[in-house]
Structure formats: structure tokens, C-alpha cells
């Protein structure tokens, strides 16, 4: 059953000087219940912009250019902000931001922030019911529930804060959870604990699908079922985790995988792939392939013909010359 559908979504920003920045272009994918999609890309590739678009949250200066986002068959496009706030956010699509420390209101206790979320979406629920519900939910997270709920963010460890944020974001059992680098600020041991918690919540069907955004490919290999590689606002390759990690086809994906270094016997002889240069400026119109400037196998026509997604070896690749 398709739970989440994105069709040719394009998003742009308007700068103060009236320039359009096409931060996200032509993104399409579908997700089934229980699935985790990993989105990988370097900083500035449009990942975080995509997040807002996927929630139907178009706060100026961000605007939808084209395309459709659907959650369980219901479109999120062309709806009023209040409609989105009331009926979509937290209930259908929820977000786990990066940097839990800054995401939590420093002058409110965890239980109060969480209570605000419940109160914002459920009518006629009394304080007592809210707190019972909170306690039951936080008991699942493997922390000292009472201590965490009664603390201010500054009194918690980084791991407790991140788990609290995940707890708050999933309080109302959203269908889709979008996690934007949820573990990048944590040390590796805490990261593992947090990922285990996420799997646990998915298993208990507290949420049904997840998009996990990170630039750490080894982590995605273990977290995601499918992986999308993003470059300069476009998905350049979309396939299963195995396909993308072990058998990449797009030149950019190949370069990313080739640059990965790991502490394993024999890796010392490996020569990591190197590509110079930087992604193109999205404020200017680009006619050709966005990776052409840096592509080691680019052909002359790549610089002026747009590349579309096509199917190679069971996955989508945005390159006509990939094999």
C-alpha cells in the first residue's frame, strides 16, 4: 500500500532581490508502510528545503514550483497554512530536526513542550490525561521518564535530548516521520542508541514510514531500505540500499562510494576517488546535467542536455550514459 507519494516536486526560494533559487527540482518517489527512505547528499544540496516541501509547509520565501505531495492519498498542495497546521503537522507528517539542543525551548520543561503538542491537536483533553499519555509514551524510550519529563533541556544529556525530540515529534502517531540528520550531533555510541529507539518505534507502529536524511553513507546502509542520492537539488539515483552502496551507477554516486574510507583490513591499499570543484549555483538557470562540470565521464552534450531519470539495473538513475 502506498503511503507517501511525491510526484515531480520542484521548490524555489525568492531572495530579497527577487532572484529565484531552484533549491529542489523534479523529485519523485513513493513509499510503502514500514519503509525507511534514506536521502544522502552533501550540505547545501537541498535536503533541508525538501523537508519543508514534504510537509506542505510553504513559509515565504519558500514556494512550490510544481508537483504533488500526497500522504495516504491526501494531497498537501494548495492548502492554507492553518489547515496544514491543524490536520497534517504532527498527525500525518512529523519532523525530527537536527540539533535537538536548539530545537527545544530552553525555558520549558520537556513535559510542557510535549503537552503543548498534544493540546494543539486534541480538543477536550485534560491535563491529567495528557500527562498519563506522556508517561506511557516516554516509558518506551529507555530513559528515566520522570527525570526527563521534569527537566529543562539544558539539564539533559545530548542523547536524552535527541530521544525527547523524537518522542515529541511522534506523540500523535504520525504516518510519516522526516528525520533531518537526527544523529549527526551525537557521538557514535549515542547514535546507536537513538537509531535502535527509532527502529523500536517503527516496529510498534507508532509511525509507519520514515525519511532519514544524512550525509553519512555507512549509517544509511544500516538504517534505510531505499536510498536516494541528491545532488544540486535533484535526485540523481534512487534504489535499494544494497544497490546504491555496493553497485552504484550514477557517476556522482560512484564517486561518493569510492571516497568512502573504512577501518578494515585491506582498505589501506584502496585509492579513494577524488573529484574537485563544487556544485553549481542554483540561482542561475542550468540547461545541461548539473554534475557535468565535475563528472569524470562527461560527454560534450552533457553540458547542454538535461538528464532525466531512467531505469537501469532495477533502479532510477539520472544519467543517459550510465550503465
Amino acid at each position: 500500500m502506498t503511503l507517501f507519494e511525491v510526484e515531480q516536486l520542484s521548490l524555489h526560494y525568492l531572495t530579497r532581490f527577487g532572484e529565484k533559487i531552484h533549491a529542489v527540482t523534479d523529485v519523485s518517489f513513493t513509499m510503502k508502510k514500514g519503509e525507511i527512505l534514506g536521502i544522502a547528499g552533501e550540505s547545501g544540496c537541498g535536503k533541508s528545503t525538501l523537508v519543508n516541501g514534504l510537509m506542505g509547509l510553504f513559509i515565504p520565501p519558500l514556494y512550490p514550483t510544481d508537483g504533488i505531495v500526497k500522504v495516504a492519498g491526501e494531497s498537501l498542495m494548495n492548502r492554507t497554512p492553518e489547515d496544514i497546521r491543524k490536520n497534517v503537522l504532527s498527525r500525518k507528517v512529523s519532523m525530527i530536526p537536527q540539533g535537538a539542543f536548539n530545537a527545544l525551548n530552553p525555558t520549558r520543561k520537556i513535559k510542557d513542550i510535549a503537552a503543548d503538542v498534544i493540546a494543539a491537536h486534541m480538543k477536550d483533553i485534560d491535563r491529567k490525561a495528557i500527562h498519563t499519555r506522556l508517561r506511557e509514551r516516554f516509558d518506551l524510550f529507555g530513559m528515566n521518564t520522570e527525570k526527563v519529563l521534569n527537566s529543562y533541556p539544558i539539564q539533559l544529556t545530548a542523547g536524552e535530548r535527541q530521544r525527547s525530540v523524537i518522542g515529541i515529534s511522534t506523540l500523535l502517531n504520525p504516518r510519516m516521520v522526516i528525520a533531518d540528520e537526527p544523529t549527526s550531533a551525537l557521538d557514535v555510541s549515542t547514535q546507536k542508541i537513538v537509531i535502535k529507539m527509532i527502529f523500536n518505534l517503527l516496529e510498534k507502529e507508532i509511525f509507519s514510514t520514515m525519511i532519514f536524511i544524512t550525509h553519512e553513507l555507512p549509517l544509511l546502509r544500516h538504517v534505510a531500505d531505499t536510498i536516494a542520492i541528491m545532488y544540486a537539488g535533484e535526485f540523481v539515483e534512487l534504489g535499494t540500499a544494497e544497490q546504491i552502496i555496493f553497485d552504484p551507477r550514477h557517476p556522482y554516486t560512484k564517486a561518493l562510494m569510492g571516497a568512502m574510507l573504512s577501518a578494515e583490513a585491506g582498505q589501506k591499499q584502496k585509492k579513494p576517488t577524488a573529484i574537485e570543484g563544487a556544485p553549481p549555483n542554483l540561482a542561475k538557470p542550468i540547461t545541461g546535467c548539473r554534475f557535468a562540470e565535475r563528472c569524470p565521464v562527461a560527454k560534450p552534450q552533457c553540458h547542454h542536455t538535461k538528464q532525466n531519470m531512467r531505469i537501469i539495473a532495477d533502479r532510477q538513475v539520472r544519467c543517459e550514459y550510465a550503465q
Partner: protein
């Protein structure tokens, strides 16, 4: 010993610091008027001795010298040298005397209203000042902050009108605004009385007549302080609010779909914390702050008293008043320091771990 009570330790720490500051303030208060080339008595005598017989002038001068602690005194009598001239005290002796008197709550005797005690003059004037200032400052502060928070959150047309207006109003010195109000509403339109805290014909009492008259006289000075304070606070709150709006926790609140009213509530509370310092400052300078406004409206408060003392070089009064102002500022700051310590968990947590502040 105090380890288990971080809050108490914090209060004590701040208390000691403020006591030290107070000591410095007392020293400054004592020495600054003595910086000039003349001692205050010379200046006064230069002004008022004209027309007095030399005998009377000398008696007056000696009375002043005695009051100001410039000559040595034993059992109420001025000590004299062989030639009958009063023995001058050194600066240190004067300082010791000054401190002793301060501890006794004796701020000296007013030159101008001789032999009225400084403290008495202050006590008579202060209720008027507090009655004028306290409600004005609180109301102005609250109004300004609410408007500022709304302007920050709503932006748009509301902000485009409110912000320049607030900026313009806060650019007006409050006394200038007072003068304009007075000129237009009492002199030109003759709607309000121009002077005093109540009609001359009424004797202050708790009668309806008196209260009505006082309220009538209250409105213009109130407006002149209120508008400017509210304008200044609105600007401060607006920029704090815009800063807070850009923070991640507000973005997260929006992502979670919190209600707008709740987000404004968060915003207001967090942006308000730094604004509290502004409130402390206003409350602290309350006593001396509306000096000129009181002067413009001839309001019978402390500002008026200070003004006449300055004009008459009434040094014991000046020192008494400045000491009072300094003390009230310090007290207000101390209170806010403590208050912020308890209201802001960031500071509070800092106390517990032993970091921060």
C-alpha cells in the same frame, strides 16, 4: 555548607557584589561634589551673603560648615583655633563622619530649607513620585512589550506602522514630549491643568474632591512618560522577538503544528527575560528619572525637590537624593538579577553545575 543550596548561594554571591558596589557608590557620592575647586559652602556664601552683615554672614557660614561636616565639632560646638577660627576637618575625617551619619539614617540638614532634615524633605516628596512613576512604568513596560512581540511575530502592515511610530516616539526626550503635551492640551486647548499635583485650593486628604483633582493633574505627566517608555520597550521587544523567531525552537514549534497563540506565548516569555533588565533600570531610575517631567508639570515629587536643590546648591540635599537614587537602582538591579536567576532555567541550571553567571 551552601553547596546544597545553590539558589541561596547565588543570592548571597550577588548580594555581596551589590554591597561592594554600594560601598563604591557611597564613596563616589561623597567625593564627587568635593572635586571642584571650591567647597560647596563657599559657593553658597558667594551667592547669598550679599546684603548680610558680616556678623550674620559669618554665623550663617559657620552653621553651613558645621552641617556639611567641614569643621570639627564637639558636643555641638565648633572647635576653634587660638585666633577663634573654626578648625577645618580633613577629607578623611569628613568621610568618616559622613559614613557614620549615613548609618544612622541621617542624611544631614538641608541648606535651603534650613533647619529641615534632608530625609524629611525626601519623605514628603517621594509618595508623589512613586504614585506618578510606578504605575506608569509598569503599564508602559507591559504595553510596549506586548506591542513589540506582536510586531515581531506579525510583521506586515502592523509592524510597518507601529515600528516607525515607536521609533519616532522614543526619539522624543520625555520632557520635550511633556512640554508639547502641556502646551497643546493645557495652554492652547485649556483641557487640563498646567501645574501641580492637585488644585491649589484643595488640602490633600482622602476626600473625593482631592482624588478627582489629583487624577486630573495626573493624566498629562502620565501620558508623557508612558508613551515614550512604551515606544522604547516596543522597539527592544521587537528586535528581541525577531531574534527569537529565527531560533530553531520556534521553527520546531511550527513544524509540530503548535497554535499561533502558544508560539507567541513562548516567544514573549523568552524575549521578555532580557527585557526585565530594562524594567529594573526604569524602576531603579524611577525616583530620579522623571525629574524633568515633574519639573515641566511642577509636580510636587522628588524630581521637583532635586531640581530646586540643584538650583540652590543645597549640597546635603543633592547628596541625599543621589544616594537615594543610587540605592534604588542597585536594589532594582539586584531584584532582577535574582528574578532572572529563577525565571530562566539556563541561568538556574548554570548555578547547579557551577558554570555560567
Amino acid at each position: 555548607m551552601l553547596k546544597q543550596y545553590p539558589s541561596l548561594r547565588y543570592i548571597l554571591q550577588r548580594g555581596v557584589w551589590y554591597l561592594l558596589t554600594f560601598a563604591v557608590a557611597v564613596i563616589i557620592n561623597f567625593f564627587l561634589p568635593r572635586l571642584g575647586s571650591h567647597n560647596p559652602v563657599d559657593i553658597i556664601m558667594g551667592k547669598f551673603s550679599a546684603g548680610m552683615s558680616s556678623e550674620a554672614a559669618r554665623a550663617k557660614e559657620e552653621a553651613y560648615l558645621k552641617e556639611f561636616g567641614l569643621v570639627k565639632v564637639r558636643n555641638g560646638e565648633i572647635l576653634r583655633d587660638a585666633a577663634g577660627k573654626p578648625l577645618k576637618t580633613s577629607n578623611t575625617e569628613q568621610f568618616v563622619n559622613y559614613i557614620k551619619m549615613c548609618f544612622k539614617g541621617d542624611l544631614g540638614t538641608s541648606f535651603q530649607k534650613y533647619p529641615k532634615k534632608v530625609l524629611q524633605v525626601i519623605i514628603e516628596a517621594i509618595p508623589w513620585t512613586i504614585a506618578l512613576q510606578l504605575p506608569t512604568i509598569l503599564l508602559g513596560w507591559i504595553t510596549g512589550n506586548v506591542l513589540g512581540a506582536l510586531a515581531a511575530y506579525r510583521r506586515g502592515a502592523f509592524d510597518r506602522v507601529l515600528f516607525p511610530a515607536a521609533l519616532f516616539i522614543s526619539a522624543l526626550p520625555s520632557f520635550v514630549f511633556g512640554m508639547l503635551l502641556l502646551y497643546y492640551f493645557s495652554v492652547v486647548m485649556n483641557w487640563f491643568p498646567a501645574m501641580g499635583g492637585y488644585a491649589d485650593a484643595i488640602v490633600p486628604s482622602l476626600s473625593f474632591e482631592f482624588i478627582q483633582s489629583a487624577a486630573y493633574h495626573y493624566l498629562l505627566p502620565f501620558l508623557s512618560i508612558f508613551c515614550i517608555l512604551a515606544g522604547g520597550q516596543a522597539i527592544g521587544m521587537r528586535s528581541m522577538g525577531i531574534y527569537e523567531l529565527g531560533t530553531d525552537y520556534i521553527k520546531y514549534a511550527k513544524w509540530l503544528g503548535l497554535k499561533e497563540s502558544r508560539i507567541i506565548g513562548w516567544l514573549f516569555r523568552n524575549a521578555m527575560l532580557p527585557q526585565l533588565t530594562g524594567l529594573a533600570l526604569s524602576l531603579g531610575t524611577m525616583i530620579g528619572g522623571a525629574l524633568i517631567t515633574e519639573m515641566i508639570f511642577s509636580y510636587p515629587g522628588l524630581g521637583m525637590a532635586i531640581l530646586t536643590t540643584i538650583q540652590n546648591n543645597d549640597y546635603p540635599m543633592i547628596q541625599g537624593c543621589t544616594l537615594l537614587i543610587t540605592t534604588s537602582v542597585l536594589l532594582a538591579n539586584f531584584t532582577v538579577d535574582i528574578l532572572i536567576g529563577f525565571l530562566d532555567p539556563r541561568v538556574k541550571a548554570g548555578l547547579r553545575i557551577g558554570k555560567g553567571n
